[in-house]
């Protein structure tokens, strides 16, 4: 049996899955004392089930997201080595930022060495300001981490016991500003995250659950909880990822669907294309800054069941803020939920007050209550459907750098709109009708996130880049760089080496048995030609364990994709 657990800001949801069926589920408030909420949820779903029968537990959480949003973390000092390029005034963060001279180029060649006096100056400054957490990030550090390592060595030689995070270990992809953010947030959240993980482990231990425990990442894959301490930021946005996977598990395989999660003030939208959730082409945007966190594409629209509706001049308009509960539930202002009530689309609230809310809006315009309600319905569905269309357009419009990519036109349109979350059901039919789709509210929609966590699979990736002219290769995810030993090196050997590293990584994460089929997700080979002679090759390959989920729920079919 599998347990899926979603620790949200307001509720903690849990489900118990047995052979692809939901055996029990629970929804309990998330309390200050995390342990109590977790135990409460466990006890509800475990009634009558023996702890020994639990094979695995998967968590998803917004704890880290909330920490960041509320800035509840210790200050992190930044030591950056940006070298030439954008003016250094671009690297302004609301924390102490020391910029060191020194530069590495795109092939990892050292252009300007570091100055040890400058390093010491930066360390003295951080010490004087009492920083205990420091992130060190260099431009092109994923091509050569020498400078970051030098700074790290100097920190330790100076006897400083800071928590230090190095950019190349956190994010190996190109994009220095995103690497800075990812490294900064990793540094900031590690300790708090440890506390979260400890609470979870303690709760499980109290109930005698001793199976492997995983946590969901923003990209919809899982990793063992104890290993996630290496990269807590990967778990940011695992909340939305959980609902999307939940929907994936609750609809027929291979479907193209839109997931609409309408909450109080925002609606989260996501796409499942031919059965596979869409990954964001850029890294996750956290607190207004781009990062390297691989995440499912989620679009938040500032519209929800509690959004304020106002009459301005001859118009009825939808505002993005919330002033309290809907009018029909004793709130101060008319909301979309009141419109739903008038249209008979929700059981919540008081009909008399809902009508009154519509009347308040409609009176100056000479509109009937039902007319007002219908207008609000249109406003909400219009705002949501236009964002859905934009999501499809931007997916079709993603940049392409190869001829075949441009020629292979991407076009896919949904046939289903799936609603999850509190207010979704009332608006769903209208949204689906506008998009010419079928509306679906799957069973267990209220705990879709916990279901999603329960069915998520481990994912691991390895990206290898080899420069045969320089005779070196690097593994992005491991922050490793070393010499190419097996010469002459070629594409096949690169793939073989990448697979070897993937296996090694799987072992490290205790996932050796879960490795399953390995997919090649990138394969680029460039001949380096100088003076009409081929001097070497640049080989860039990436492999990953297959994405997917363990079960489709309700079909009764266990889809073991191993």
């Amino acid at each position: 049996m599998y347990i899926g657990l979603d620790v949200g800001g307001t509720y903690t949801d849990a489900v118990l899955l047995e052979k692809g069926q939901v055996r029990a589920w629970a929804k309990v408030p998330t309390r200050q004392d995390l342990l109590t909420s977790l135990l409460e949820a466990f006890d509800k779903i475990m009634a009558g089930a023996h702890a020994d029968l639990i094979e695995r537990v998967v968590l998803s959480t917004t704890v880290i997201t909330n920490l960041i949003a509320e800035k509840k973390y210790d200050p992190v000092g930044l030591i950056l080595i940006p070298g030439p390029g954008l003016d250094h005034s671009h690297y302004r963060y609301d924390t102490e930022t020391c910029i060191l001279g020194g530069a590495i180029d795109y092939r990892g060649r050292e252009i300007v060495p570091l100055d040890s006096g400058e390093i010491d100056g930066a360390l003295a400054r951080m010490t004087s300001l009492n920083y205990k957490k420091v992130a060190v990030v260099g431009k092109f550090s994923s091509r050569n981490n020498k400078h970051e390592q030098e700074v790290f060595k100097r920190i330790r030689q100076s006897g400083l016991d800071w928590q230090v995070e190095l950019g190349h270990r956190v994010a190996g992809q190109l994009n220095f500003p995103r690497r800075v953010m990812s490294t900064l947030l990793t540094c900031a959240t590690r300790e708090k995250y440890q506390f979260f993980a400890d609470s979870v482990l303690a709760a499980l231990d109290k109930r005698g659950i001793r199976c492997p425990v995983y946590i969901l990442k923003a990209d919809g894959g899982t990793m063992p909880l104890h290993k996630s301490l290496d990269s807590p930021v990967e778990t940011i946005f695992s909340g939305p990822a959980a609902s999307i996977l939940g929907v994936q598990a609750l609809i027929p395989p291979g479907e193209t669907a839109v997931v609409v999660d309408i909450g109080g003030t925002t609606s989260d939208l996501a796409l499942i294309l031919s059965g596979q959730p869409l990954l964001s082409s850029k890294g996750a945007n956290i607190d207004g800054k781009m990062t390297h966190v691989r995440a499912l594409a989620v679009k938040s629209v500032p519209v929800g069941g509690d959004s304020v509706v106002e009459q301005v001049g001859k118009e009825i308009i939808l505002l993005s803020e919330r002033m309290g509960p809907p009018y029909c539930m004793g709130g101060p202002m008319p909301t979309p939920t009141d419109a739903l009530k008038v249209l008979g689309l929700t059981r919540l609230g008081d009909l008399g007050r809902a009508k009154e809310a519509m009347r308040m809006l409609g009176r100056p315009l000479g509109m009937q209550t039902w007319e007002v309600a219908a207008r609000i319905m249109l406003l909400v569905t219009g705002a949501i459907t236009s964002e859905i269309n934009k999501m499809f357009m931007s997916w079709e419009q993603e940049p392409a750098y190869r001829v075949w990519e441009v020629l292979q036109k991407r076009k896919d349109r949904p046939n289903t709109v799936v609603g999850v979350g509190g207010a979704a059901s009332g608006f769903l039919t209208q949204i689906a009708a506008t998009l010419n789709c079928y509306p679906v509210i799957p069973p267990y929609a209220r705990v879709a996130n916990a279901v999603g966590a329960a069915v998520a699979r481990p994912t691991l990736q390895v990206s290898l880049r080899a420069d045969t002219e320089q005779g070196t290769y690097s593994i992005q995810e491991e922050g490793f760089q070393g010499p190419i030993e097996d010469r002459p090196f070629n594409e096949e050997k690169a793939l073989e080496l990448a697979r070897y590293w993937l296996g090694k990584r799987a072992e490290k994460y205790g996932l050796k048995d879960d490795l399953g089929e390995v997919e090649v997700i990138r394969k680029e080979v460039f001949n380096m030609v100088r003076d009409w002679v081929t001097r070497g090759k640049l080989i860039d390959v990436a492999v990953q364990t297959r994405r997917g989920i363990l079960h489709y729920i309700g079909s009764g079919v266990e889809r073991d994709e191993k």
Binding site: P84, G85, L86, D87, H88, S89, A103, D105, Y106, R107, R109, I111, K139, F140, L174, N175, F176, P177, R178, K282, M290, Q397, E398, P399, A400, Y401, R402, V403, W404, V406, L407, E524, F526, N527, M528, V529, D531, W532, V533, T534, L538
Partner: protein, 458 residues
Amino acid sequence: MRSKPTGVIFFPAFDWAISPTHPEREERLLYTRDQIFEEGLLDLPEIEEYPPKLATIHDIARVHFCVPRVQSQVTEAHMIAAGAALSLGDSIIKGEIKNGFAMVRPPGHHAMRVVHGNRGFCNINNEAVLVEYLRRRYGIKRVAIVDSDVHHGDGTQEIFYHDPNVLFISFHQDGRTIYPGSGFTHELGGPGAYARTLNIPLPPGMTDRTFHYVVDNLVLPVIRDFQPDFIINSAGQDNHYTDPLGSMRFTAHGYAEFTRKLNPHMAVLEGGYAIETALPYVNMSILMALAGINFSNVREADLDTAGFRESDDRFAQVQKMVEELLAIWERRDRVDIEKIFGTGKFYQRKKFIYYDTDYIEEEQFEKVRVCGSCPGYLVIESRANRGFGEPARVLAISIPIDACQNCQTEAYACYEQGMVDRKQYNFIMLQDKSTDTCLSCDREKKQEWKSEGPKPGV
């Protein structure tokens, strides 16, 4: 105005090459990609990345007489590179972006009106395709093209040689020392477009000082005078001091400063083959300059301008040339055209064109109708020797967008006449820019094709 972003289409064509070791190969923009991605430039609010789209066959046929057909001269990569320029053009006219950079390959500025094959790494002239598209679709009238490639933009020059509404300025390394061997000061445009072509051949070894002397004292004043509706920069980067084909000594900073001063609506990447030492830095700084981002911290890895001494004699020579050209520009509407070009109904010239990549020798006889009411139509008789088989003989007629009724009638009569004595030609083609119609006839296949562009406003 300033709040709008700069649009960029980055199309490195990582799966396209002329041949595996050719300078125009997959690797060319690889390090540029690395640099731009690592800088995170595309995440900045000042820059918006657009996906490339394909130009249509008709977009190409509006400019080029491809022999035998457009499809036989272009690959998809060409359609994408040209399409990128069109797509950015759309976004500029629609007001979504303030300017754009088509950072694309393959390049195009050596491609002439008649295309028998590849010359100077080019088949299709991306800028010319853009100009005709903008004029046709949006009614843009006056366009200025400034070519900053080390090689003379002979293709662009040839296409607009008789067009008074397109100002073409090219500064480049002296044609006596580099491909394609043209671009001298006496090449000033045809009788209907005198001084609308200006060439500034520079002695090898000149630096940013000369570059900016020419820009400040000739390029900018002439453009100010001409008052174009749209400015295009053919942004070749082989004037860079590390370029393996050119012998100039311009820097990335010099290019950026030039871009800032020219403030073009669009920059289109042309040549530049120092793929590691120049392109990452030059492309980045051009993009930053267009977007109004401070580029003072962009610096080549090995930059040491202290070693860049240019000869004072040569600099004085450039100064003199700039003065002469400026004088020609200022007198352009007062000169006695007949005295320069002769009298008669037609002005005609013979041209010999060599396609270095495809080893084709083309002989051309070009006639332009000298007309008081319009720029006049063009008649080209072209004969191309590939060194094997029969030469391809083509009759090509081009009617300008603002052609007068008389010229249009005469041009069609000329096409009809070509069909009557078609034995002389393998292919007879006509492009009527005034109605956006292209005709082409293949004698052996006994077939005629006609294509029409979308109706304006569609």
